[in-house]
Subunit: 279 residues, 2 copies
């Protein structure tokens, strides 16, 4: 299978529409139909059901969609990492969620910069759940993740810290007078829904809460009195006066991990991980 075929199939499988997929790919629709047909014939597997009014995936097609995305990420990563390997001794790219683990991150960056022959570190801030993708497709070398929220599937990791969670509420809300709360307290507040986070495919589950992509958005919404949330207690360090935090006694502990793609062998990365585990 050629990557061109995989790209074509992914486009059709995501659009579920040959015309739009062809447009997105910058080709005409007939060659795309033909290419998908050839792919199905060579595999001996029907990938799509054509219902004369659109297209749906077969079970095998769903498998190929998942696998093809991973394979295309790997190819993309090969290209990016090769370019970067050639472009002189470039530094590391670290990715973390916007608004999370900021003081851990600044301590880490400071400690690493003090190491002998430390490489320059670029920091990317991304939305929830995007770190793995950036590591897999070669745009980043190392990430900070938060278990159990982020998936570390397919990554090498080291644990850094573990902390409890706090309820973050609009300042002045009645619940902020409590000394401690339970998750059930937080879930049953009629005027303060919990936010809804995107799933791994980028879409949002159905539900009442406002849709958020990162902690910065979330804190702004809380300050506006539009929702409440459970966050790791380290977020208290950079809360402003518009919001208040109350300890949650029964929320799961949050573990901060440093993660990198398997088979990375750069000494700069190894030094950064070593620095992180020593903090």
């Amino acid at each position: 299978m050629e990557t061109r075929e995989l790209r074509y199939f992914v486009a059709v499988a995501e659009e579920l529409h040959f015309g739009r997929a062809a447009q997105r790919l910058g080709i005409a629709q007939p060659p795309l139909s033909r290419a998908i047909g050839q792919l199905e014939r060579r595999l001996g597997v029907p990938l799509l059901e054509r219902n004369s009014r659109g297209v749906t995936l077969t079970e095998a097609g769903a498998v190929l969609l998942r696998e093809a995305r991973a394979a295309l990420d790997a190819v993309e990563a090969a290209e990016r990492r090769t370019r970067r390997a050639a472009a002189g001794q470039a530094g590391l790219v670290l990715v973390t969620k916007a608004g999370a683990s900021t003081e851990l991150l600044s301590k880490l960056l400071a400690a690493y910069a003090a190491e002998p022959d430390a490489a320059p570190v670029d920091v990317i801030l991304c939305g929830i759940g995007e770190q793995g993708r950036l590591l897999r497709d070669g745009r980043a070398d190392v990430a900070l993740l938060h278990r159990p929220f982020d998936s570390s599937a397919g990554l090498d990791t080291e644990e850094l810290t573990t902390e409890a969670q706090v309820a973050v509420l609009p300042a002045g809300h009645p619940l902020t007078t409590a000394a401690r709360l339970r998750l059930s307290d937080l879930q049953n507040v009629a005027d303060l829904p919990l936010p809804s986070w995107p799933k791994s495919d980028g879409t949002y589950p159905d539900g009442p809460g406002p849709r958020v992509r990162d902690n910065t958005q979330l804190l702004q919404l809380i300050a506006l009195g539009r929702c409440a949330a459970a966050l790791p207690e380290s977020c208290r360090a950079h809360l402003n006066a518009d919001v208040a935090a109350v300890p949650l006694v029964d929320a799961p502990l949050v573990t901060t991990l440093i993660a990198w793609p398997p088979h990375s062998r750069s000494r700069a990365l190894a030094a950064l991980v070593r620095t992180a585990t020593r903090l």
Copy 2:
């Protein structure tokens, strides 16, 4: 980048010789030269140093070799898994090293087979360090690994058992009279070298010991008095009278893991993993 280009580059990078690489690929040498040249030009990166008498990899070329192998494995896995998804409800393929964890494996297979709606399980026995490859390229769904010997990089794992190691020696050897041994005792026996295991690229390190690929070969060599080895103590269950085992007091503990590729979501796999962790 197309997979064809990656395959071509991997062939040249492994052979370090355009002629042989072309032969292996089943094409003539000139198109191969041209394809590699195009790849280098498109990437803007020199991948090979041509020394008029052979070829060597540049640093970027070494990076691309590693990444290209991973990417090609992912593409191959996409194809295999799609075919298997279409070929009816095929069973699971479990891979483990020949001669390792046999009684754990048989208990696991028996327990899983007793589950309601258990899928049929095919077992593949492979050489040392090949399990990860089989998982990555889609030939297997799940593996038994042994830490610290096998790499679990890029795989999801659960720990199953932990055990000490024993020295395995030819029956009647003087050391077998000891009640316990240290690793240093084993390393300093002139007539019994330790075996040499293949590295991840399949080549063997320089050294005196006989080259082995799996535990079956190893035990036969020990029985012949050609070497000694440290093995997990569970191997005692299937040692024959030609060899003897002595506890090792300072050898690292061996953990048996069950491992699977990330993002596998089959319920059959989940059930097998659940069964394994309950043993």
